[in-house]
């Protein structure tokens, strides 16, 4: 690539570091190209490598400098900048793949937990039904109308709770398990579709 393309890409790769550091780097290399006598046709990346690699070195150098500053000057703003540059450096480095794998594992755990929780709610629903059913004979045992009414009320409440919990379990299952797995399938179906173009 020629010098203008190189400098533009470098500036883009450095967009998250402070303005001062970015301009310093760009002017250093612009000056270097001028001293080299590089015209617009010369392939500068043959000598300098890729803008991306160069940016990585510069970013970690700049992050180092700001960490040093922070420990002596303190301040929240430089801390935030430092955090961002460390995050940048991490994502630029080739460990983005293991991090993505961690994300996948977390998703699987989420699905499993959703499954377990919705199953537990289902069990609770079943218990409520059983409790309601157990109440029904008690309605007909003589002990006064009031007592029968209370038993009937409890049975109905149990039934109502059971219905609520059944729908709750179904809803949880839909969100946690089905939602994630179909979303996942759609992602990969989409990718496969694009590959076949």
């Amino acid at each position: 690539m020629n010098k203008e393309t190189f400098l533009k890409q470098l500036e883009r790769e450095l967009r998250h570091i402070p303005e001062e550091d970015r301009q310093d780097a760009i002017s250093y290399y612009r000056e270097y190209f001028e001293e080299m006598g590089a015209d617009d046709t010369m392939d500068v990346s043959r000598e300098l490598g890729s803008p991306h690699k160069l940016a990585q070195t510069i970013i970690s150098e700049v992050a180092d400098k700001h960490v040093g500053m922070q420990s002596s000057e303190g301040g929240i703003k430089s801390g935030v900048i430092t955090v961002w540059m460390v995050v940048l450096a991490i994502f630029a480095a080739p460990i983005a793949l293991p991090l993505a794998m961690v994300g996948v594992v977390m998703l699987v755990v989420f699905v499993l937990v959703g499954f377990i929780v919705s199953f537990s709610v289902f069990i609770a629903a079943v218990s409520a039904v059983l409790a309601a059913v157990y109440m029904i004979p008690a309605i007909f045992v003589s002990g006064g109308l009031a007592q029968s009414a209370v038993c009937l009320g409890l049975a109905l409440a149990g039934a109502g709770l059971a219905i609520f919990l059944f729908y709750g379990a179904k809803w949880l299952y839909h969100i946690c398990v089905l939602g994630v797995t179909t979303g996942y399938q759609k992602m990969f179906a989409g990718k496969r579709g694009r590959l076949n173009d």
Partner: protein, 111 residues
């Protein structure tokens, strides 16, 4: 290049070059490349680091309508260079002792 140039040694070379006279980026890179085969992109981070450590300062000088940024060594830089020179002497002697000792034993074997 058989033996890689570690970071402190590269710092020392840069400081030694700047100590002789103030230089700008391009000349400095060319001078270092005479001694050791480095990539152009190696030197900028080194210069940044030395500036951060106050071993170097910079000043600009216009030249033929463009700007040249010169690097100059500071007192801190001179002290650092002195330290590197001492360390290098120690390092050089111990490696020499090791490498030539083996050589001598090999000679004795064939006598």
């Amino acid at each position: 290049m058989t033996f890689q140039l570690a970071a402190p040694l590269l710092d020392a070379c840069v400081l030694a070059i700047v100590e002789q006279r103030d230089v700008y980026g391009y000349t400095l890179t060319m001078r270092v490349k005479e001694i050791v085969d480095i990539s152009e992109s190696t030197l900028y981070p080194v210069l940044r680091r030395l500036q951060k450590d106050t071993c170097l300062t910079t000043y600009d000088q216009p030249y033929q309508g463009r700007n040249r940024r010169y690097y100059r060594i500071t007192d801190v830089g001179r002290e650092r260079l002195l330290f590197y020179r001492q360390e290098w002497e120690k390092y050089k002697s111990s490696i020499d002792v090791l490498l030539s000792a083996g050589e001598k034993e090999t000679e004795d074997l064939y006598e």
